[in-house]
């Protein structure tokens, strides 16, 4: 092909940009979807791992709580039995004292001495009316009554006075008169109807529970920084233990509604439930206790695990994915450009060659290198070469024909043919009248 035969027309949105755009789009979609899928699966697996951790933790805590509860109960039970021993001894003591005609003041002095020298906190001994005639705390005159409304704690001991019961052990609880945690146990009188009650400051029971139980574990776990918050609640969603890292926005007093629902479900369904929240993962595990020798849900452990770190990791991963995708895309575009050039370059050359055929300047041999290609473009170039050679050959033949096309007139034959006409009478007549005929037309027109 000669220079300067390139056609003026070039398509505005040609094969090459189309090819490039298509490939880039395809690769872009592939890369983006792959990284999205990878990110998603990574997030899922990390979340699953975190959830598994949370479930394990919550279950361990729930078991610990159950265990701690059991030990505390056993200790308290044993304590109750010992207290009944003490109360019985006090009952005998007061019977002996009265028979020995000791004054109430003398008996009280003995009682106070016992209380002062032992861990026994209080002794209350009533007469038949329920009035605490003998007591270690002289400043508190107290009369036991049967009305639970008036005496929520003390009324339970009244049946000792009536003979309905011989002993009562009450679990440790916060005392209504001064707010101290106390445990009371009482027996009926030996000599007459009485309530003989001993009381222990049972703060140590709570301390024991916390030492062996959940509270300490909760504190340690939260302090380790792997958790946002731990909360242990009873069946009524009352918080029994709570610890949260500072700034977590969680409080002991208020359990968020969503978490309440979560805990309720965990207790009701008796299984561990997880719930992802924006920055943390909440896991609720039920705590079981024995009631009438059956295992029932008595509360739940709620563990909040942080997912910020996880999200950070995810974000970093996403950035790496984006960077990798961009690099890959760049590479792909470069590759596509090279590929596009490999394909459209020959197409442009063939187009130019076709245009050159039109202007009769085509040199099919110029496409030899292209025709040596083994792909479809090579085949196209070969077909084109054959076609162009055919066209050129035909044109050459045409030109040769034209050169051969002489305006060859056989003079003798012409003369003979002309004579055949001119020698007719009609022609001779016409010839003689020609001027007249032409003249007549002129005449008629004018």
């Amino acid at each position: 092909m000669k220079a300067g035969t390139r056609p003026a027309y070039r398509p505005r949105f040609g094969l090459r940009p189309r090819f490039l755009l298509f490939l880039a789009l395809l690769l872009g979609i592939a890369v983006v979807s792959t990284s999205m899928f990878l990110s998603w699966t990574a997030r899922r697996s990390i979340l699953q791992q975190t959830a598994a951790d949370g479930i394990l933790l919550a279950n361990v805590l729930a078991r610990s709580a159950e265990y701690a509860d059991l030990i505390g109960n056993d200790v308290e039970h044993e304590l109750g039995k010992q207290m009944l021993v003490e109360a019985t001894m006090a009952a005998h003591l007061v019977a002996i004292g009265e028979r020995a005609r000791m004054t109430p003041a003398e008996i009280n002095a003995h009682l106070r001495q016992i209380a002062a020298s032992t861990v026994l906190g209080e002794i209350w001994i009533t007469d038949e009316t329920g009035f605490a005639r003998y007591r270690t705390r002289e400043d508190v005159p107290f009369t036991f009554g049967p009305d639970p409304a008036l005496q929520p704690q003390a009324h339970a001991f009244y049946p000792l006075l009536t003979g309905e019961k011989q002993s009562v052990v009450q679990e440790a609880r916060t005392r209504e008169i001064d707010g101290h945690v106390f445990k009371y146990a009482a027996v009926a009188g030996i000599d007459r109807p009485r309530i003989v009650q001993v009381g222990y400051d049972a703060t140590f029971l709570n301390e024991l529970r916390s030492r062996i139980g959940v509270a300490r574990l909760v504190d340690e776990l939260v302090a380790s920084g792997h958790l946002v918050a731990i909360r242990v609640v009873d069946r009524n969603l009352l918080t029994l233990a709570f610890r949260a890292v500072p700034g977590a926005g969680l409080e002991a007093a208020s359990l968020p509604e969503v978490e309440k629902a979560l805990v309720r479900r965990a207790v009701d369904e008796g299984r561990t439930i997880t719930m992802p929240e924006p920055t943390r993962l909440a896991v609720a595990a039920p705590i079981f206790g024995m009631q009438n020798s059956t295992r029932v849900g008595v509360g739940a452990t709620l563990v909040d695990l942080p997912t910020d770190d996880l999200l950070d990791v995810m974000r970093r991963q996403a950035w790496v994915a984006v960077a990798a995708a961009a690099a890959l895309l760049l590479l792909a575009v470069a590759a596509a450009a090279i590929l596009a050039r490999r394909i459209t370059g020959p197409v442009v050359r063939l187009t130019d060659a076709a245009a050159a055929v039109e202007t009769e300047t085509c040199q099919p041999a110029d496409l030899d290198d292209l025709a040596r290609r083994r792909d479809e473009l090579g085949e196209l170039a070969r077909v084109f070469q054959r076609m162009a050679e055919g066209v050129i050959l035909r044109e050459r033949r045409f030109r040769e024909q034209l050169r051969e096309l002489r305006v060859d007139i056989d003079e003798a034959r012409t003369a003979k043919q002309v004579a055949e006409i001119t020698e007719t009478d009609y022609f001779k007549e016409l010839r003689s009248k020609a001027d007249a005929l032409r003249g007549r037309h002129r005449e008629q027109q004018s």
Partner: protein
């Protein structure tokens, strides 16, 4: 003063009728009053180019030659065929030959007075106040052709670039010379596109010593149109049309 233009070819199939019709149309579109007369009584064909068929042709040249009507009564106004190219003052008429087989055989059997044809030409020019009378002749050299040549102001000889046409045209040129036709031109038609136009033109001119007034290449568009209408009207920008325009200019000069 009216000009009589005869268009002739020694052999058939040279595109003579097409050239005649288009030349007449081009002249008419320049505001001239033009009539085409089809003297090819044996094988009439020019009517088709003006969109006419057997039903629209009531009277033909045959009727005039038999003396059953006046020549101007056979002329059909076909100016509407010019379409958008119709010009003020211009008019285009056609005097057709009968295309009824019976009429054709009858006139060939009985013959006619060639002198009457000559009178008809004059009468037509006068009655229609023509600027140009364009005569489409029968190929070959018969009596009416020789008459047309004799009375022509301009004779156009149409030929294709092939051996037989070259030989026949030589005879026609010599005969025309002997009849002292005032003005004679050659028209090379249907030349293959591969031919070198300038070279062929020059060869033809030097062989016959007659100027080539137009040179038309074979065209696909002409083939497609298939003599169904006027090419110049349909393809005003075509090379063929340009050549016809140049020819019209030369003829009316």
């Amino acid at each position: 003063m009216a000009k009589i233009v005869s268009i002739h070819s020694f052999r058939g199939g040279t595109g003579k009728s097409n050239l005649t019709a288009n030349l007449a149309a081009t002249l008419a579109s320049r505001g001239q009053r033009v009539a085409v007369i089809d003297t090819d009584i044996q094988s009439p064909g020019i009517h088709a180019l003006f969109g006419l068929d057997e039903d629209r042709i009531k009277r033909a040249l045959n009727d005039y030659l038999r003396g059953t009507c006046r020549i101007e009564e056979t002329a059909l106004d076909v100016s509407d065929q010019l379409g958008a190219q119709r010009a003020a003052g211009g008019a285009l008429f056609l005097v057709p030959s009968s295309i009824r087989a019976g009429e054709i055989t009858r006139i060939l059997r009985e013959g006619y007075d060639v002198g009457r044809l000559n009178d008809g030409f004059s009468e037509l020019v006068r009655q229609l106040r023509l600027d140009h009378l364009v005569i489409d002749t029968h190929p070959g050299l018969n009596e009416e052709t020789l008459l047309s040549m004799t009375i022509s102001d301009v004779l156009l000889l149409v030929l294709r670039p092939d051996r037989q046409d070259f030989q026949g045209t030589a005879v026609a040129v010599d005969v025309a010379r002997k009849l002292e036709v005032p003005s004679m031109y050659l028209v090379v038609n249907k030349a293959p596109a591969a031919y070198d136009a300038a070279a062929l033109r020059q060869q033809v001119e030097s062989a016959y010593k007659v100027p080539v007034a137009a040179y038309m290449e074979q065209s696909d568009e002409m083939l497609q149109l298939g003599s169904a209408s006027l090419f110049c009207v349909r393809y005003p920008e075509h090379g063929y049309t340009r050549e016809v325009e140049a020819l019209a200019t030369r003829v009316s000069a």
